[in-house]
Amino acid sequence: MKAETEAKLQAEILESEPGRAILTCIQCGTCSGSCPLAEAMDHGPRAVFAMIRDGQVEAALASNTAWYCVSCYQCMVQCPQQIPITDIMYLLKQMSLDRGLAPGDNKMPDLYAAFERQVRLFGKVSEALLMADYGLKHPLDVMASTPAAVKLLARGRLHLLPRKIAAAQRLRALLEAAGQKERAS
């Protein structure tokens, strides 16, 4: 049963537009080597590609690798096989959320969810509200940045009131129409 799921997930990745390039990976390690946050990852992108090819797809989706991707594109620019690695990382993140596989111990899904709530409410994002929302789940991170926040406030760099766009309501409707009900995260 599990093998069947793995095979389905594997096919979904390898048949997708960015994902099919994984088939040409030569496992050279340029991606992991060039990644600024590779040390934080359970596996570097190279190893994740090996896992996907090997059929350990659930493990690949449940790993924190893609969530640590900063989207700096250094790997993608240097990949000798021109694999769109960053694009694949986005795909893995989307798939892991859809399947409920996103790693519980990584904080980025919460940050991104808070971000999305901002966009849905106001059409724009203000840092203070974003931090307040995210801080409900991760108060330590927000407290750690409180001294800075005070400084920023003093310098007029922190906006506490939302700047709502005129069409916020309609934009929200559009996003919902895009077929994605807001995910509980």
């Binding site: 030569i26 340029t30 080597g33 190279r46």
Partner: protein, 656 residues
Amino acid sequence: MNKEIPRIGVYVCHCGMNIAPRVDVEQVAEFASRLDHVVVARDYKFMCSNPGQELIVEDIKAHNLNRVVVASCSPRMHEATFRKACRKAGLSPYNFQMANIREQASWVTDDSRLATAKAKDLVAAAVGRVAFHRPLQTRRVEVNKSVLVIGGGIAGIQAAISAADAGYKVYLVEREPSIGGHMAKFDKTFPTLDCAACIMTPKMVIAGQHENIELLTYSEVVGLEGFVGNYKARILKKPRYVDEDKCTGCGTCMEKCPTRRVPSGFEEGLAFRPAIYSPFPQAVPKTPVIDAEHCRLLAKNKRCGVCAKFCEADAIDFDQKPQYLDLTVGAVIVATGFAAFDPSSMVQYGYGIYPEVYTSLQFERLNNATGPTAGQIVMKNGQVPRKVAIIHCVGSRDRNHLPYCSRVCCMYSLKFAHLVREKTGAEVWSFYIDMRSPGKLYEEFYNRVQAEGVHAVRGKVAMVTDIVDDPGRGSLTVVAENTLTGRNLRLPVDMVILSVGLQPAEGAGEVARMAGISADGDGWFTELHAKLAPVNTPTAGIFLAGCCQGPKDIPDTVAQAMAAAGQATALLAAGTVETRAEISSIDPDICSGCKSCLQVCPYNAIYFDEGRQVAVVNDALCQGCGSCSATCPSSAAAVAQFNDSQVMAEIDAILA
């Protein structure tokens, strides 16, 4: 048009399992047997085998066949084989046609029904056209008994020596002032670590002194035309400004030249040379050249002439002009070699930005006893490095640069690792993607270097940077993943060597165009057949040697050079070649004398007979391109084997 009634035999080949299961060969043979003029049609396991050919020979005799069609592989593969079989049975080899049902049907179609239908059409086309084939006449023409070798690296030198030893005149053309090529820059060669100079210098001397070899250095081939046995080459001799006959090679001019700081190409920019120079001490010929771009007198019109003042042989000649030399040769060996990949475009490795990042050719010079440091492996500050990184696959196996494996880099990188360990005792970290050591004693060499304590890390380096975490431990940081442990390394080092890949030599495309040979997508020249004709080209009489055909190491290069010389001398030894039968002719009874054909012929092979007021083909010059036949408004011009009735019959049969 044909006096005799065609009696055609058709032979459908199974090619083992290559054609047979996909194409229903029995059905194709049965179909063929019902075509017009077909007397006998058979299928057989391997038509190219001896019994297969015998089958044809026997049928020709038994059934009085006067035309033969074989449906098998590409005519580029076996047309010659079956033509020979026809000739053996007393049939003109030109009364033969092949249908290619392997490369064009069984191998490119999954659907058996469609493949069989296609094979039938192709067989019908061959049968349709062969009915219009006629025996053709050819002549034998003399072969000029000399060889032109283009390129004076180890491939060209070896090819020249081999052909010259066989007794033929050889012109060896090299664009640099000396022969020697890349190999002259090396100090040691893998896997035996024998001294490159010790094996190379004698070869250069032999080439320089051989009574059958005429060296044309500082020269370039600028024109090549003609055909097998009779090529006409035009050579540009660039002005040396030094008379080769007078110069004794004493070197005084080079010592006295006031221009001292021209970066030396031979030393890969690691040293300077004067404006009058010989690239290296063992150069052949020894005659220096004046680099007109940097000479005070020639470039800047300043009063100088110091070299001329000191030359006791009075060999300096500032008035030399470019000269052209026209040669006739029977065969051409192309040995234009390679260029090292320029890593400046891979900004992540910092070549040209950080002084302690070297290319492999720079390292060769650094390590060479005659190089800028007299063979000391030291940094720019004169100190011995404590930690050295060697990066494999720089440019190679990289779709952003050279998509292919350059084949020699793993081995020369191991050689570098050994030399650094041996000469400096420094820690060596060698970063590879896959260690490629396929060659005699190569894996053994890898094992030896491993045992010498070299750190071989499986991982392509992501970045070389001068941002160091601990300034006391090396001026550079190498960043890479060790893919075998999955951990990232930030390795402080003093020196980085980039093992750059190989790419076709500059100007190779121009040579290909002149010689009428083709190059693959990467620019390497294409051999006639990868396995069976590796040094031949589609143009008869033009052969390939060395890296111009693809990256290869010295043993393979020398072997290929000898093979190319063998092919060329075999051609010369035969003395004559058969002229091509597939050439144009113009029917004087139909020709209206409009002269359209004269204008389109690329070989000036058509002249106008004023007396008869008709155009006439000179069959010694005609190459059979058919420009005339396609242009002729009255269909008087036709290329044998490709005349209107033959081509139309082929099209007719397909669409029947």
